[in-house]
Amino acid sequence: MNARAVTTDVLLGMVPIALLIGLWQAIASFGYAPVALLPPPGAVFMRLAQQLATTAFQQEIGATLFRLFAGFSIAVILGVGIGLAAAASSAVNAVVRPLVRVLAPLPKVALYPALLLLLGFGHESKIILVAADALFPILLSTYYGASTVEQKLIWSAMAAGTPRRQILFKVVLPAAVPSILTGCRIGLVISCIVVFLAEMIASTDGLGHLLVAAARTFQAVDMFVPLITISLLGLVLNGLLQAVRSYLLRGFPEV
């Protein structure tokens, strides 16, 4: 893929976003919708820029990011660990498989009231909800990645005298990395969504709280700001994950 084709792709991709913002501006400026319902995009982005500069807003973003990272990290550690263990041992597999079948399709948001009652309105309940939601995509893709490792690789390592325990970390884990990272990507998006929802439900602080507070006072402009912020956060985090991916997979053949 040459540089020119990439530029064309990027420009082409900007078209629908530009159209969307254009449509938004048109609806606002031709008076089809009252400003109270749909503020013009200019006002929203100005407000966003203003807010980003204030420390209060930065603290809200900080709270959201802290929960997001804490929950996501727990999900990655548990997901990769359990996924590898389930792929390597049939005893673990026999326990994990039915549990995952039951817990994965369970809508975790429905558990949130229980978490609130047990853990309170602080960080803990939100972090655990994020971890519970992000866990399953990571666990499943780790498991699939680890259980599709070519058997020949394992046999070669065994023939070369690698201890069985080390095969897991020297052969299976590295071979499963692409699949694990795909799971992490899905898990990250889910984390963004869930942390925001949790903050909306137990509205104490964070970006979700800002949205609820704005909705209560019908401040349409302030309702758009947290939504755009979480979208931008998602983009930035996704970009970071892509960077990690291209670093970790530098030896792998292009997929």
Binding site: A114, Y144, M158, I201, I230
Partner: protein, 261 residues
């Protein structure tokens, strides 16, 4: 012996449910607080919810919105995803837009959509539609990309038009992947349904759950959690059955553990 084994595998999820309920029961007995009733208490509260006509209508209304939102999303997302998977131009046209929308929680759009469309069925269904679309589009793209080029060439050589190739080659070949996306979408539909009803407290299963939480009716809270959880597990199992029927030609995905330990 063999039948014993299959029996154990079949009843695995059931055993897991019972195990989880058992752990809950024991934990509740140990903690012994008002806000954490035992599993038995919660299960005992279920009949009174399902027996109540108004609650039942609420829950059915939720399911109807979910079904409509889900079907609409699937019908629109699959063609879009398949086209994006086969055509680079279409893909680069829509990709950035989807990437911007993806991390936004769809249920969080609820307060804004409510301003425009009111608190009724339309806004809730729209939010469910948005929530389901993205995973289905994403998996359809993956599925369409993985179609073997040779099959398309053969199709073209035998005189199939582009549209016919899409329907008769790409769609069936991508079906397993599409159905994986639909399965994710189904769970997401349930999540979005509950959160949207929590935000627009007017009707639905989410409304019952969070109202009970606000009023401190803890038995009802936990009973609703069980009902919603059962809905999720039931829908997922039903979908899995359907999937097995539709794509029984595709290899079951890696069901064996690795053999080295």
């Amino acid at each position: 012996m063999m039948s014993m084994r299959t029996l154990v595998t079949r009843s695995g999820p059931l055993l897991a449910c019972l195990g989880l309920l058992g752990i809950w029961q024991i934990a509740a007995l140990i903690l012994n607080t008002d806000s954490f009733p035992t599993a038995m208490d919660a299960i005992r509260a279920i009949p009174s919810i399902l027996g109540d006509k108004e609650s039942l209508i609420n829950i059915l209304a939720s399911l109807r919105r979910m079904a409509i939102g889900f079907s609409l999303a699937v019908m629109l997302s699959i063609p879009l995803g398949l086209t994006m998977g086969r055509s680079r131009g279409v893909a680069s046209f829509f990709n950035p837009l989807l990437m911007v929308i993806y991390p936004v929680p769809k249920a969080a759009l609820m307060p804004i959509i409510m301003l425009w469309l009111g608190v009724g069925d339309v806004s809730k269904t729209l939010v469910i539609f948005l929530g389901v679309s993205l995973p289905v589009i994403y998996h359809s793209i993956q599925g369409a990309k993985a179609v073997e080029e040779k099959m398309l060439w053969s199709g073209a050589a035998m005189g199939l038009s582009a549209a016919q190739r899409m329907i008769r080659i790409v769609l069936p070949a991508a079906l397993p992947e599409i159905l994986t996306g639909c399965r994710t979408g189904l769970v997401l539909a349930l999540i979005t349904m509950i959160t949207s009803e929590m935000i627009a407290r007017q009707s639905g299963a989410g409304n019952i759950l969070f109202n009970a939480l606000d009023m401190g009716q803890y038995d009802t809270v936990y009973a609703m959690i069980i009902i919603i959880g059962a809905m999720g597990i039931g829908l997922d199992a039903a979908f899995e059955k359907l999937r097995a029927q539709l794509v029984n030609w595709s290899e079951p995905r890696f069901d064996l553990p690795l053999s080295f330990s």
